[in-house]
Symmetry: C2
Amino acid sequence: MELRPFKTLSRRTIIDQGPYLTVESHTVEWPDGQVISDWPWIVGPDAAIVLAITCDGKFLCFRQTKYAVEGTSLAPVGGMIEPGEDPLDGANRELLEETGFQSTDWIDLGSYRVDPNRGVGIRHLFLARDAQRVAEPSNDDIEDQELLHLAREELEDALRSGEFRVLSWAATVSLALQYLARSGEKD
Amino acid sequence: MELRPFKTLSRRTIIDQGPYLTVESHTVEWPDGQVISDWPWIVGPDAAIVLAITCDGKFLCFRQTKYAVEGTSLAPVGGMIEPGEDPLDGANRELLEETGFQSTDWIDLGSYRVDPNRGVGIRHLFLARDAQRVAEPSNDDIEDQELLHLAREELEDALRSGEFRVLSWAATVSLALQYLARSGEKD
């Protein structure tokens, strides 16, 4: 079966709030030829999410609050990619800024569209192994957060019980654990 | 360490396009007391995503096109939850509508916020086991798609090679495979 593409016939900006949010309205020709003239499209920042394992086998995670999450959540390292920045460079930068750790052993867990209809941005997911502390964290995020060093079993339990409460965070942890299970690594 | 909450001081609607997209601007008091007066907030529909295994051990997936995905992607079953609908009821309904299959053995893989800062909606992820064909699909989506029955190894290969190109789809498949590995099931 041949799957036909969508075509964007025109686009206009409805809201422009810089790198954090642009909302557009697209006129789209669907695969069946139908034209939809008011398709909402969201341009948000792309982000890199990093699950890091230290050289002594602990997983670096934050316990933190975020505006869109009720209560607290566990979270891997993550943050916005700067315009023009390579996703892996952004991942390295975020890991260093947020934790003071560096890694030279990176596994690419894939890049994924946030919303299949509205866009929203891309999430680039990584596993960073053998991370070593090289600096103080220089995190300027204004959220409250605390850095934890979790054993593999604690990480698995936390994922299973829903403590990673954001889609990209749960996806990163799950894909990373599957990678590690396949590669037969132990912590 | 006690993590302090965010407070929404006020909110106003900037764009109202019904159930598909509402954009708001919030005035937010951050945990450190700082007040931010123009925080973009996106209200999108919640969705249920379902990885279904048939009674003969095959995984139901679509090969499909979506507006926000270049080329084609593999996808589990999924769709918007109607206002007021229970997520599991929505998952059952989507599975039946899109594939004609029903299951009585549902595993809840968790509910996750799409974007930790902007909101966007919630994704409720499920594994449905022992699915049986009871009807013709009645799918009225206007995307092109074809329904595949994948063996477990094919599914694992497809996830690993990035063929599930949307965050909620990759998360569902990864979490489901981890659940199955834990429960020692074979296809």
